[in-house]
Structures are given as C-alpha cells and as structure tokens.
Symmetry: C2
C-alpha cells in the first residue's frame, strides 16, 4: 500500500542535481548514495548527526573519505539532502493518498493511516527529520516547520470539512490536528517502547482512530467502516 524504494529516491536526487554532479554513471551514483544514506541515518539516529564523524560515515558506508566528497560538498549538504528528501517524500505521499476520498470521516482515517504507515516504512527518515531539524541553518529550520504545519493543515482541513457537514463535533480543528500529529509522531519517535510491547502498526492505527473519533465524531455518525474499525479492547 505505502511503498517507497530507496533506489527511486536516489534516482530522483540524481535527476535533480543537474550539472554540478561529480559521478557520471547513474547506476554507481544511486548504489553508493543509498549506502551513504543508510549509514548516515543509522549512525545519526543512534548518536546524533553532529556526533557522527566523516570517518564514522566512511567506515559504515564502505566508501573512503575522499569518495564521500564526490557525493556531497560537505557535512552540511549531506544534512540538507537528507532533510529535503524526507520532506519531499512525505508531503507528496500524503497529498497523493488523501486526494481521492470525499467522505471526511473516511478521509480522516485515510490521512491518519497513511501518515502512520508511511512513517513506519520510512522510520529512520522520519526520526532523523524530527530530531535533527534544529541542527540545520535558519532556512532549513523554517522549511521543517513549514512541513510540520502543512501536514497538520491536511488534517485540520478534513476536520473542518466534517464539521461543516455536521458529521463532526464543533471543536477547535487546528488544535485537534495538532494533537493528532503528536500521537502520530510518537509512533516513530518511540519505536523502542512499542516494539518492546509487541504493538504492531495496525494495532496502533486502530487505537488512534478510536481515540480520535471518540472526540471528533458526533455520537450517531460512525462512518461506513471499510477496515471494520472495531473497538480496541483492554490490554
């Protein structure tokens, strides 16, 4: 359902880079950049991007120090690439997936689950994006904030729509969206916790939807259930 290929991502970066790229063959570029990204995300998510040295990255990616600098101009650019890539994919996927639906009740579910499954498929990216935003320059931080607000707005708009149609309660839509975001983010920020309890994405998703709908939906407006959104039982 939500699938993103590492190769596709890197190919796109290759295409976008234009003339100032040092590696000629797309194939080697894609292969190595994917290794670099993997290694960088792994190390950064363990001890932080700032604490990751280029030597660490060289060792983990299997490329020499010198070679690394053929793929990015410096540590700053690497950070920028990682952030931009994560941002781009998220926004694209979210808007794509929620485009078709009309019923706000279903749309809300779809948006929540899309975000959730996407963050599951790309956990290292999402985690990195969240934790390393503050290490960026002013421009990068602003873009990160804008991305947060954009995904929040997707949720808020759905909620407003549902409210206007009389399906949802009349509550602060933006605040509701904000806390939904917080709950969605918790899934990829605290994987250690949920993994330790053997909670699956699906369980988490079902629980979230129950929780959200208890607040948003008017009592008599349970939506036509495509996923049979049953109650989440006691532990």
């Amino acid at each position: 359902m939500v699938h993103v290929s590492k190769q596709d991502i890197c190919r796109e970066i290759y295409a976008r880079k234009g003339g100032d790229i040092k590696i000629k063959k797309e194939k080697t570029f894609v292969k190595n950049l994917a290794r670099i990204f993997d290694a960088a995300l792994k190390i950064s998510n363990e001890k932080g991007f700032a604490a990751m040295s280029m030597r660490d990255l060289s060792r983990a990616s299997g490329l020499s120090m010198g070679a690394l600098y053929a793929y990015f101009s410096g540590k700053d650019e690497l950070l920028e690439m990682l952030q931009r890539t994560g941002r781009t994919i998220t926004i694209r996927m979210l808007t794509e997936q929620t485009a078709g639906e009309i019923d706000p009740r279903v749309k809300l579910r779809t948006a929540v689950l899309t975000h959730l499954f996407l963050s599951e498929a790309m956990q290292p990216w999402f985690y990195f994006f969240y934790m390393e935003a503050k290490n960026m320059n002013e421009e990068g931080r602003e873009k990160a904030k804008a991305a947060e607000l954009a995904t929040e707005k997707v949720l808020a708009d759905i909620i407003r729509e549902g409210r206007d149609l009389g399906l949802f309660n009349d509550r602060n839509a933006l605040m509701t969206a904000a806390v939904i975001k917080a709950m969605l983010q918790d899934w990829y920020l605290k994987r250690w916790k949920y993994a330790g309890r053997n909670i699956t994405v699906d369980q988490y998703g079902r629980f979230l939807i129950d929780f959200i709908e208890a607040f948003c939906l008017r009592p008599d407006q349970k939506p036509p259930s495509p996923g049979e959104g049953g109650e989440s039982g006691p532990e």
Copy 2:
C-alpha cells in the same frame, strides 16, 4: 502551584556531591552552577548539546574555560548532571502532586495538568531531556527510558483504577497513557507552534482534558468539575 527554584536544584546537587567537589562555598557554587545550567540549556536547545563547544559555554556563562572544569569533570559529566537533575525533579513532582487525590477522574485531570504545568515551568529542561537522551551512554539512555515509562505508568494506573470503578471505558490503559504522554510532550517540544498561535498552557490543558475524557470517561460520568472543565470551543 507548580514552582521550582533554580537555586534549590543547585543546592541539592551541591549537597549530594560529597567530598570530590572543588568549590568550597555553597553560595558561589550555587550561583555559578545555575549560570552554567542556564547557558548550557539555552545553547543546547538552540543547536544541540554536541554542537555546543566549551568555548560557547564559557562565553555564555561568563566563566572561563578553566573555571568551568571546577564544576564538572568534562562535557560528559555536564550532560549527565543536566539529565539526572531533570529526571529527579520530574518524578518527584509528579508523585507528590497526585498523591492526595482519590477520585480517578479528578486524579487523571490532576496528573495531566501537573505534568503540563511542570513542563511549562521547566520547558528548557524537559526539551533538553527529550532531545539529548540519545547522546548519553547506555546507562543514561536506560534511565531516560525508565523515566518515560514511570510517568506513563502513573497515568496508566489511574486509568485502570477508573476502569475498575466503572467510571472509565474498558480500553487499553497503557496505550491510552502512551498517547496522553505524546500529547503532553508536544507542548514543550513544539513551543514555537503554540506560541505562534497564542495558545496558553491553560487552553492547551483544557483541550487535552476534553480530548482525553471523550475517550476515557463513560458517557454519564462527567467528574465533579473543580476547574469547570467546559468544552473547548471552535477556533
């Protein structure tokens, strides 16, 4: 209601340190350590602890490089001190505040608001604690996780209690506690967002309680409202 003094915190550290402390007079120790903490939190929360150099800290705290090393043995110990201090205070405050109450409905509100107001009063500490946990050694990270689980357990126990008394719905208490934590944390992690919208702590608290109670409380069990927990209106 929730008040924590910088001086008290530092005095306690002074008392705990025992013999291997280099500064003799409590007064200078407390005064300077408070300055160090302030500066360290400020810089770290802007660009990350790893990116903060001792020179940065020296400049911002007004103490020379050499003097700093009279207060901690190195950057690692400073990190450890900051984390431990934050942890200790949080757990103590939370258990203290929720101890008296009996009615689980009121207790839940109290726990949520206590956590929220505490995190407001000590925002830099909480933010730092969350964002810099992964820069610590194994032991430090384990303690951070334990602290997360401990505060979560406080919430979960209240919810279980309410369920057993027939006041709350029969839902997964631990999962509920987990998402409540996520929402509470959002307040101090994304202050920029809420500040930009002129949302006050009280508004956020009221909203959270409405949200949580919509899911947790059985329909006919609105609690005796001490704070008159009215609906949070539309934006």
